[in-house]
């Protein structure tokens, strides 16, 4: 199994607070890897560091032979690491169409085909294309966020709590789409508090606690070992 992304000895500080305390993790090409953990464990910090929005104080982030740690966020996107952040970060004053077009901002090839493609994945967006993105419902906004990220043609799609604040039915729909995208070959790194749902679609999972990775196991094993899930995830 090829490793697409390898994080080694990563430390991240916010001023004097150490939010990530030396983690190693690897993402297998073509797989879904989940990162689980309670509030404040350091999951979002880890993801923001991958995207260059927060700077690591130590360690390395190797993406298919490229060191990402010193790169600017837009360069990281150019290499194919694209993130759907916590809270979605939809541009509410722009239209749905404009959000999608901005998703393909760094591309110089023709994005028309992908534009059609993502609308087939998320047909609901089709009806709202020229409305303000801020008027979408929470679920639609999450779909737009994922669709927008797909417009960048990611080689690694990173998602931070895509199920947050959504009704169970919508969560299922979104996870189904993630699974289908993965079946098409996309590598996915998924942060979730919704542990059970995430473990159902993931191949491998890490559990984070207080800035450290305390568990790394195949997702199926974790799901079957209900003690683990209870102990670490309280679910």
């Amino acid at each position: 199994m090829n490793t697409l992304l390898q994080v080694t000895g990563l430390h991240v500080h916010y001023g004097a607070i150490e939010a990530v305390k030396g983690i190693d993790l690897s993402l297998a090409q073509g797989r879904i890897t989940a990162l689980l953990g309670a509030n404040g464990a350091g999951k979002s910090t880890t993801l923001l560091t991958l995207s260059g929005l927060v700077r690591a104080s130590e360690g390395s982030i190797d993406f298919d032979g490229v060191e990402l740690r010193e790169l600017a966020p837009h360069q990281i996107v150019s290499h194919g690491v694209v993130q759907v952040p916590e809270g979605r970060e939809i541009l509410t004053t722009l239209t749905v169409r404009e959000n999608l077009l901005l998703g393909g901002y760094r591309r110089h090839d023709n994005i028309a085909a992908d534009f059609k493609n993502v609308l087939e994945w998320f047909p609901r967006l089709n009806e709202r294309l020229d409305g303000a993105a801020g008027n979408l419902s929470g679920g639609e906004q999450q779909m737009l966020a994922i669709a927008r990220a797909l417009m960048a043609q990611p080689r690694l799609l990173v998602l931070d709590e895509p199920s947050m604040g959504l009704a169970p039915l919508l969560v299922r729909e979104i996870f189904k789409i993630l699974r289908e995208l993965n079946a098409g070959g996309l590598t996915i790194f998924l942060v979730e508090q919704n542990a059970r749902q995430a473990l159902k679609i993931a191949h491998h999972a890490y559990v984070m606690e207080n800035g450290k990775l305390v568990l790394s196991a195949p997702a199926a094993d974790m799901l079957n070992n209900s003690k683990v899930v209870e102990a670490y995830l309280g679910a």
Partner: protein, 293 residues
């Protein structure tokens, strides 16, 4: 008579709108109240004036010279002031103080170089023909001022609405974090915004200098006050608001001069602004104040 005032108001309002556009761009995108915008405006006027006097350039080339100078000033402004403060996550007041300081530096340096006196464009450099259209007289110069202001605003509005970089700018204005995650070169676009906004201010400076035929080191001061008023009236950071606010002020000034008296010009104009803000405290299109609260 009424039609004549209308023309005057449109040309003056156009210049105010141009100035306010630059000011509001920097606020909307960089989140900074740039109190050096008036000094950049003054720099534009001096650049054009000296391009005409010293280099003997024709008027249009002199305006280009002003664009280059003030664009470069905008680049430096971001490089030396905004970017370092951004990198340190400085609180709101720091850039305000820094830009006040810069404004003072610029106007005193200009005063040191060129003196405090009022400079004028040489008469032979300005077009003097007058056009008569159904009883309305408009000088060729006024026409050029109006056209230039409108063309620039039109291009800018179109680019913001329709182009890739315009979309990116609007996205950046709403959320730098989202913009970065979309692959937008946030730092580069901040710098670009500062250049664009400053050269708009510079062109406004040339146009006002031509309109009033007066160039002096502190000419940016009253303009800055008007710019701030216009931008607050429009709703901080809102482009349409800045345009509308600019024209509103132009009309208020011209018509109060015509029908009330020139001494009351600013009192009437600012009184009206204040009255509107009492009715709509967030300005005509106001909501931008929520951002970076």
């Amino acid at each position: 008579m009424l039609a004549q005032q209308f023309i005057n108001a449109i040309s003056l309002g156009g210049v105010y709108a141009l100035f306010a556009l630059g000011f509001t761009l920097i606020f909307g995108v960089l989140g900074i109240v740039n109190l050096a915008h008036g000094a950049v405006f003054m720099l534009g006027a001096y650049s054009a004036l000296h391009a005409v006097i010293l280099l003997r350039l024709p008027l249009m080339a002199a305006i280009l010279a002003a664009i280059v100078t003030t664009g470069a000033a905008g680049w430096l402004l971001d490089k030396l002031i905004f970017a370092p403060l951004r990198a340190r996550d400085a609180p709101h007041l720091a850039p305000m103080i820094a830009t006040i300081g810069l404004a003072i530096c610029l106007s005193s340096s200009v005063e040191g170089f060129f003196g405090a006196q009022n400079l004028r464009f040489p008469v032979e450099a300005l077009p003097t023909e007058t056009l008569s259209l159904g009883g309305i007289r408009i000088t060729w110069l006024e026409l050029q001022i109006v056209l230039l202001a409108f063309v620039l605003m039109g291009i800018l509005m179109w680019c913001l609405k329709q182009t890739r970089i315009g979309r990116a700018l609007r996205g950046l204005a709403e959320s730098p974090k989202a913009a970065a995650l979309l692959g937008i070169d946030v730092e580069g676009l901040f710098r670009f915004t500062s250049v664009l906004a400053s050269l708009l201010g510079g062109v406004a400076g040339v146009l006002i200098a031509l309109y009033t035929n007066a160039v002096f080191p502190l000419m940016g001061q009253p303009m800055l006050h008007k710019g701030i008023a216009v931008v607050i009236l429009g709703g901080m950071g809102d482009i349409r608001g800045a345009l509308l606010g600019g024209f509103f002020l132009g009309f208020a000034e011209v018509f109060s001069v015509a029908y009330i008296g020139s001494t009351m010009r600013d009192a009437v104009a600012f009184g009206l602004l204040f009255a509107i803000l009492l009715l709509r405290p967030d300005g005509l299109f106001g909501k931008a104040t929520q951002r970076r609260a």
